[in-house]
């Protein structure tokens, strides 16, 4: 829901970033207020996944210019774990498998790290099990997954559900979901989208990074942004996504070509 | 075990006698012969006390004629396919005499030979191995060929050993992006020893597919060193099949000089009666992003003995190496023995190295499944044995595949 007076949670100004020697983000601007759902769309290579990784602090990406503030705080100065603890969540496109590390233990340590930051008491194993069993319902997940290693041997759908389960436990204020719909069948997509809808409220915000309209059929965005060549090319309402679905991305190329060439970055 | 105590002495005597009986060093390899003879006189003969020879008794050699064999025979193989050059190696005459080489294939000049001969042996740290020095001491001819850049050739090498020692020396230089398919047949027609030393240098982007089919007999031995140096982006596939030898030992030695190359090794050895077959492979990655895919299989029946030792060295500079080694042995008799020892040495953190080994007899549930479909027990077990071998045989290049009749391999097993 759009409320012009809602507090700004995330503010991205002129963000430039590169991986190795390759400039990928070339001046991204985005403001996210509490209660909003944003969709960032674009082709492969447009920079949308990079944007999510930069916001979460992936070490392979270097920010070369720009500012990101999260509730007034300089987000880019923080280590990845601190960003998570203060309420920024990245749902991975490819959740990582960590053999040997129990999923339950992982969820508990992560949840307690977030709680400690919020000044809440640490949950012992029993209290945490109660909590996790309750949250499992959000994504209709089988408790058996708790006893397995983190994401190890999970199907694509199970991995994505595990991501949303983590989101349900960590209760972030800004959740960035990177291609959460990729690799999901219709039922899994419905469950995952249902989870995201349940968790969205007036105090938090969601940024969906996606290729396709089909996720947006299940989660209605307030804003749709189209990314190309490392920048947000156009912003509109949910109808922009429908427009894209109908006309494809070709017009993006035309629009890009019409613009003056993007100036080279000075690293 | 008692035999292995007497064998080194008998073998030392044989070596001495054999060295004394060699003709005066002569021909293009005279200097190499001279050095080899001096080295051999000094080297201790392999014995079970040396880790590399712990399980492999060379006692068989001591019973062989201490002479050089000459055996001009094409082993009764079907003729080569049209357009494919077949060279017969008899150990004495120049294999290229009177041969018209196809475009893209040329003999090495004397100065090139002087530069290249022994280079790959040294690079793969085996130039002073006993079997190599034995070859040095005896080999009178070397088949030294250059495959020109971007040419694509097929070549067959055939040898048929008689009584005595048949020394074979081959040197191949593959220029940038050259491709060579090499099918080699080593047969045995008498109580003798085939000593094969092959060196191959693969230039950038070159591709070598080498298949060796070695079919021997109970009173014959084969000692083969196959040394390959690979420049980046080159690809080497080496498939060796040995069956029927009283003693057969293959030592594939591979070095990826700057990494970024790909190596595929396939080995199959079949032992029966009192035969011994041994493969000691050694792969070293001297640069990043190298690849290895190795599968070694053995079938041991009768009182046969099968040995596999697979060394993989991944030093610090070989980051992002991806190496996989699998050794599988089918043990078919309770008087046969197998010894398997993978050796992985890794000093690089960002690598994928996996290896596995299995030893078993035919799976009873698989046998039962076939039988439950009406297939007789012996037929079912033949089918399973064939399937076991097929995994290696199918990687033999062209003609070599035809030489390697399955019935031949497992005639008695």
């Amino acid at each position: 829901m759009i409320r012009p007076d809602a507090p700004v949670l995330l503010e991205i100004k002129d963000l430039h970033a590169r991986v190795e020697d390759k400039a990928i983000l070339k001046g991204v601007n985005l403001t996210v207020r509490a209660g909003e759902i944003h969709a960032v769309m674009g082709r492969n290579g447009s920079g949308k996944s990079t944007l999510s990784k930069v916001l979460a602090g992936h070490p392979a990406y270097t920010v070369t210019a720009g500012v990101v503030t999260y509730r007034g705080q300089d987000l880019l100065a923080l280590d990845p774990e601190l960003r998570a603890r203060i309420g920024v969540f990245l749902g991975f496109q490819y959740p990582v498998e960590i053999p040997g590390v129990s999923n339950l233990e992982f969820l508990r340590v992560a949840t307690n790290a977030r709680r400690a930051e919020q000044g809440a008491e640490e949950l012992d194993t029993f209290a945490f099990e109660d909590l996790v069993r309750e949250r499992l319902k959000v994504v209709q997940m089988d408790p058996a997954f708790l006893d397995r290693s983190v994401n190890e041997g999970f199907s694509g759908g199970e991995k994505k559900r595990n991501e949303i389960l983590q989101m349900a436990l960590l209760e972030p204020l800004v959740a960035i979901l990177d291609e959460t719909d990729s690799g999901l069948d219709i039922d899994a997509l419905r469950i995952v989208a249902g989870g995201v809808n349940q968790l969205a409220n007036a105090d938090n915000a969601t940024v969906l990074i996606t290729h396709y309209q089909r996720l947006l059929d299940a989660i209605t965005p307030d804003y749709v942004h189209v990314m190309a060549a490392g920048r947000i090319l156009r912003t509109g309402g949910k109808e922009l996504a429908l427009d894209l679905e109908e006309r494809g991305y070709d017009w993006v190329d035309q629009e890009l070509a019409a613009q003056a060439p993007v100036p080279l970055e000075v690293a | 075990m008692a035999a292995s105590l007497t064998a080194p002495m008998a073998l030392a005597d044989w070596t001495r006698q054999w060295l004394n009986g060699l003709p005066v060093a002569d021909g293009p390899l005279a200097a190499v012969q001279q050095r080899g003879r001096e080295a051999l006189a000094e080297l201790p003969v392999p014995s079970s006390r040396q880790e590399d020879w712990r399980f492999t008794d060379l006692g068989l050699l001591a019973g062989l004629d201490a002479t050089l064999a000459c055996s001009p025979s094409d082993a009764g193989l079907p003729p080569a396919a049209p357009g494919v050059l077949r060279l017969v190696l008899d150990g004495r005459s120049d294999p290229l005499a009177g041969v018209v080489l196809p475009a893209g294939l040329a003999p090495l000049s004397d100065s090139e030979l002087a530069q290249a001969l022994g280079h790959t042996l040294a690079a793969t740290a085996c130039e002073h191995h006993w079997p190599v020095e034995l070859n040095h001491a005896a080999a009178q001819q070397v088949l030294a060929l250059r495959v020109a850049s971007r040419s694509c050739l097929t070549l067959e090498l055939v040898s048929m050993q008689a009584a005595g020692l048949l020394p074979l020396r081959v040197l191949l230089v593959l220029e940038e992006k050259a491709e060579l398919e090499l099918c080699q047949f080593a047969g045995a027609g008498g109580a003798g020893l085939t000593s094969l030393v092959l060196e191959a240098h693969l230039g950038r982007g070159a591709r070598l597919t080498h298949g060796v089919v070695a079919l021997g007999r109970n009173d014959a031995a084969l000692l083969a060193h196959l040394a390959i140096e690979q420049e980046p982006e080159s690809s080497a596939t080496l498939a060796t099949v040995a069956a029927g030898w009283g003693l057969a030992r293959f030592e594939p030695r591979i070095r990826q000089v700057d990494g970024s190359a790909s190596t595929t090794l396939r080995g199959l050895q079949v032992v029966d009666h009192r035969q011994v077959a041994d493969t000691h492979s050694h792969i070293s990655f001297s640069g990043p992003e190298g690849q290895l895919d190795q599968l070694h299989k053995a079938v041991a029946a009768g009182q046969g003995r099968s040995v596999f030792n697979g060394a993989v060295r991944v030093p610090r500079e070989a980051q992002r190496t991806n190496a996989a080694q699998l050794s599988r042995t089918l043990l078919l008799s309770d008087r046969a023995r197998i010894d398997t020892k993978p050796e992985l040495e890794i000093v690089a953190d960002d690598v994928k190295c996996a290896h596995g080994a299995t030893v078993s007899c035919l799976q009873t549930d698989e046998l039962f499944y076939l039988q439950s479909r009406g297939i007789a027990a012996d037929q079912a077990s033949a089918l399973l044995k064939r399937a076991f071998c097929e995994e290696v045989l199918r990687d033999l290049p062209g003609a070599a595949r035809q030489w390697c009749r399955f019935e031949h391999l497992l005639a008695s097993v």
Binding site: A56, G57, H58, P59, A60, D79, P80, E81, L82, A84, R85, F89, L90, F92, V96, I98, P99, G100, S102, E105, F106, V109, A110, A113, R114, E117, S149, V150, Q166 | E51, R316, T329, L331, L332, D334, R335, A336, I338, D339, T340, K341, P342, E343, L344, E345, I346, V347, A348, D349, D350, V351, C353, A354, H355, G356, A357, T358, V359, S360, C361
Partner: protein
């Protein structure tokens, strides 16, 4: 700082048990001779059969060559520069703990092994060995009620000579190897455990070895016998002070399991490993072997190896009895310039014997961690099975992980399966955990313990936490 570097720093924590206890010690002169062997035997007032045993071993040892085949490099050991007997000065072994020198009790307190009645661990009986002698054994009376004998081997020699004569040296013969022969000649103390027929030992048994003197070799000898249908779980722990010289530790452990008996032997080894330049530390040359003599017997080795400058150790099982079972679960962590050459031998003799090997090696710094194993299927091992899994985790690009799994088989109806892999802590895995709010150190520690989980699961409950703590200790500290 790169991830690899940061992870490397994490595993470089200082050694916590490096203090020396200031206590008056009785030592004999340096050096080894037949007279020294006789002197040790007489100090311990041993019966003639044992002196004979020692002398035979000593004479054998003189004929033997120090092994050099392990992938280890160390300067030659001067066997004449070692003290072969050192004991804290107290007359006889005290019958009551109250009479034990408080300094000794304090030492074990500091090591986390309280011995006094008020503080001692419930449900774990402890034999505490300080340098060459056992100073106290807890819960002896309670164990005696069940017919279980748990005491120092010196005491057993006096109290139960027939048992010692019957079993000592029958699993590891004195001629077995160089270090076993040396141990047989000069062994000082160690533990003896005897579980009679049908008894399930009511508590965990544990021996804690402490090397205190700087120039003393430690040669303990442990013998565990489980009679028909008996079972026991035993844990060994060890620490040593930090000296800049190397101390030799050459122990022998023999286990005997009769029909349907089961022995679980766990080791949490944390000797001083030397400093980051490889100065000082324990040379740990140990022979451990269990014999499943009886049908359906079981011997299980679990080890967590974190210390020692050099480790040379292959806890083995000889599976003689039909359907007997051998297990080996191992975690070996090496750092700095530590060298570990460890693994196991599973010798399948009897029919339908089974063995499992799970080895996890973690190499950091400039250390070398080698797994060396042998699985042998003898001609009579019909229907025998082995499964082995060897995984290595490499931290940094200067550490070495070597794997040498020998397989020998003479039995077609036996199946051997071996798998090995290498891995590292990947940047993506670290980032994933961090992006869920888990700090760097905890993330590394979680992944290392996850890597070791299959082995930790095998440790007795009381010690699983200890092992995890030990690894965490090696992993904790500030990240620069």
């Amino acid at each position: 700082m790169s991830t690899a570097q940061a992870v490397g720093d994490l595993v470089s924590q200082p050694y916590k048990y490096g203090f020396v206890t200031d206590i008056e010690t009785e030592k004999i002169a340096k050096g080894l001779s037949e007279d020294v062997v006789r002197l040790i035997s007489s100090k311990k007032q041993e019966p003639p059969f044992l002196l004979e045993f020692r002398l035979r071993a000593y004479r054998q040892w003189l004929q033997m060559q120090e092994p050099d085949w392990a992938t280890l490099g160390y300067p030659p050991i001067d066997y004449q520069d070692i003290i072969y007997y050192a004991a804290p000065k107290q007359q006889d072994k005290k019958t009551s703990l109250d009479e034990v020198d408080p300094k000794l009790l304090e030492t074990f307190d500091k090591l986390g092994i309280p011995l006094s009645e008020q503080k001692r661990l419930s449900n774990v009986a402890v034999d505490a060995v300080f340098d060459s002698v056992s100073i106290a054994t807890t819960y002896k009376e309670k164990l005696a009620e069940h017919g279980v004998i748990f005491c120092s081997i010196s005491e057993a020699v006096k109290e139960y000579p027939p048992l010692i004569e019957r079993y000592l040296g029958t699993v590891v013969p004195i001629t077995d190897n160089y270090f076993a022969a040396l141990n047989s000649a000069v062994f000082s103390d160690g533990s003896f455990v005897f579980i009679p027929k049908g008894v399930d030992c009511p508590m965990e048994l544990s021996t804690y070895f402490r090397i205190n003197s700087g120039d003393t070799g430690q040669f303990e000898r442990t013998l565990i016998v489980a009679e028909e249908g008996a079972s026991v779980s035993y844990l060994e722990g060890c620490t040593a002070p930090m000296f800049d010289t190397n101390q030799l530790h050459a122990a022998v452990v023999e286990l005997v399991a009769l029909d349907d008996a089961s022995i679980k032997y766990s080791t949490v080894q944390n000797w001083y490993a030397g400093d980051e330049n490889g100065v000082g530390g324990i040379y740990n040359f140990v022979t451990k072997r269990g014999q499943c003599r009886g049908d359906r017997s079981k011997i299980s080795w679990t080890q967590v190896e974190t210390g020692s400058a050099i480790t040379w150790k292959y806890p083995s099982c000889v599976l003689q009895g039909a359907e007997s079972v051998g297990e080996f679960y191992s975690v070996a962590l090496t750092n700095h310039r530590q060298q570990a050459d460890t693994g196991t031998k599973m010798i399948h003799v009897g029919p339908r014997t089974r063995s499992t090997i799970v080895s996890k090696g973690i190499s950091a710094g400039r250390s070398a961690n080698s797994y060396r194993g042998l699985v042998q299927m003898g001609p009579k091992a019909v229907g025998a099975k082995n499964y082995s899994q060897c995984d290595s985790m490499l931290i940094g690009d200067q550490a070495a992980a070597n794997t040498y799994p020998y397989i020998r088989s003479q039995q077609p109806q036996a199946a051997v399966e071996h798998e090995a892999s290498t891995c590292r802590i990947s940047e993506d895995q670290l980032f994933y955990l961090q992006s869920r709010g888990i700090g760097f150190e905890e993330a590394v520690s979680m992944m290392v313990s996850g890597f070791c989980r299959d082995v930790f699961n095998q440790l007795p409950m009381e010690f699983a936490a200890e092992a995890d703590k030990l690894l965490a200790l090696k992993l904790e500290g500030s990240v620069g």
